[in-house]
Symmetry: C2
Subunit: 139 residues, 2 copies
DNA sequence: ACAATTTTGCAATTATGTTGCAAATATTAT
DNA sequence: ATAATATTTGCAACATAATTGCAAAATTGT
C-alpha cells in the first residue's frame, strides 16, 4: 500500500523517510489541497514544522505537488496528477475553492482557457481559481 | 486634486483621514498593484503598520480595492475600476504578474473567461492570474 | 464648540517562515 | 551485516508578518 509511495520517492531520487511517507500519505487521502497548517495538525506522529516546510519545498521542486494561489495568504498544495517534470510544472487545470466548507479541489479535467493579452505581454503560465459551492455543499 | 479622493471616502461613509488619503493617493499613482509592504515603504509620512492593515481591509470591504491572489504568500491590492458594491466585488478581469520586474497589473479589458465546471459545482467568482513578461520588460 | 463616533498608534501577543548546525537516519559500497 | 558517505531531521535562534485590546487623538454631526 505504501509501496507505491516508496516507489515515487525513489523514482525522484529522494530518501525514504517517515515524514515523507506520512506527508505523501496525507496528500493521497486528503479530500482537497492541504496547507502547511493542515499537515501539521493531521499528521499522526508529530512532524517538525521545519521538516514540513522543507518537505513541501522539495516535493514541489520534484514535481510531486503543486501550489495553488489564494487571495488570503494561505498557499495550499496538491498532488500533481501526472508527474510534472522536475522544476517544470504543467498543471494547467482550474482550482475550485468552496465558500462553504473551504475545501480546495483540483478540477483535473477543466483546463485553464487561453486569453488574448494586450500587445507586448508575453504569457508563460496561467492560474485560475473559481470560488463557489462544491458538489457536496450544494446538496 | 485630492478632492476626488475625499469624495470617494465620503461617498462610502468613511472618515477622511491623513492615512487614508495618503494610501489612496499611492494607489492612484502606483504603476501596478501594491502589497502591504509597498505601502509601508512608499508612504511619505510614516503610517503605522496596523493602520495600513486596517485601512486595506476597510477599503476592500467598501469595494474600493480588490485583492489579487498569488502563489507566493504575498497578496496585493489594486483599485477597483468601477466602484464595486459594498461587500460584493465584480472585478472579473485578468491580472498579470511580470516574472522580471514582478509588477502586478490589472488587465481591465481582459475578462476572465467562463469555464464549464463538473456537475454539482456552482461558481460564484473566478480569478485568473497570468505570469510572464510585461510590455515594458519585453522591450 | 461640544458630544458622539471613528480612527489611530502603541504594546503585547500570536502566527508564519528561514537559517545554521549537530545528531539521527538512510543509502551505498564493501 | 558493517562501515563509510550522504541526506534528512529536529532544535534553537532569529526574522518577518499579522491580530487584538485599549487609551489617546482626530473626525463628524449638531
Amino acid at each position: 500500500m505504501s509501496e507505491a509511495i516508496r516507489e515515487l520517492l525513489k523514482k525522484n531520487h529522494m530518501s525514504v523517510t517517515d515524514s515523507r511517507l506520512q506527508i505523501l500519505d496525507l496528500f493521497y487521502h486528503a479530500p482537497g489541497a492541504l496547507a502547511h497548517a493542515d499537515i501539521e495538525k493531521k499528521a499522526s506522529d508529530k512532524i517538525d514544522r521545519v521538516t514540513i516546510y522543507r518537505t513541501l519545498q522539495t516535493f514541489e521542486e520534484k514535481g510531486i505537488i503543486h501550489t495553488i494561489p489564494s487571495a488570503d495568504n494561505s498557499v495550499k498544495y496538491a498532488l500533481c496528477k501526472d508527474q510534472c517534470a522536475e522544476g517544470h510544472h504543467h498543471d494547467n487545470h482550474v482550482h475550485f475553492v468552496c465558500d462553504n466548507c473551504s475545501k480546495t479541489i483540483c478540477l483535473d479535467d477543466v483546463l485553464v482557457p487561453e486569453v488574448k493579452l494586450p500587445g507586448g505581454f508575453e504569457p508563460h503560465q496561467s492560474n485560475m481559481v473559481v470560488n463557489g459551492l462544491c458538489n457536496e455543499c450544494r446538496s
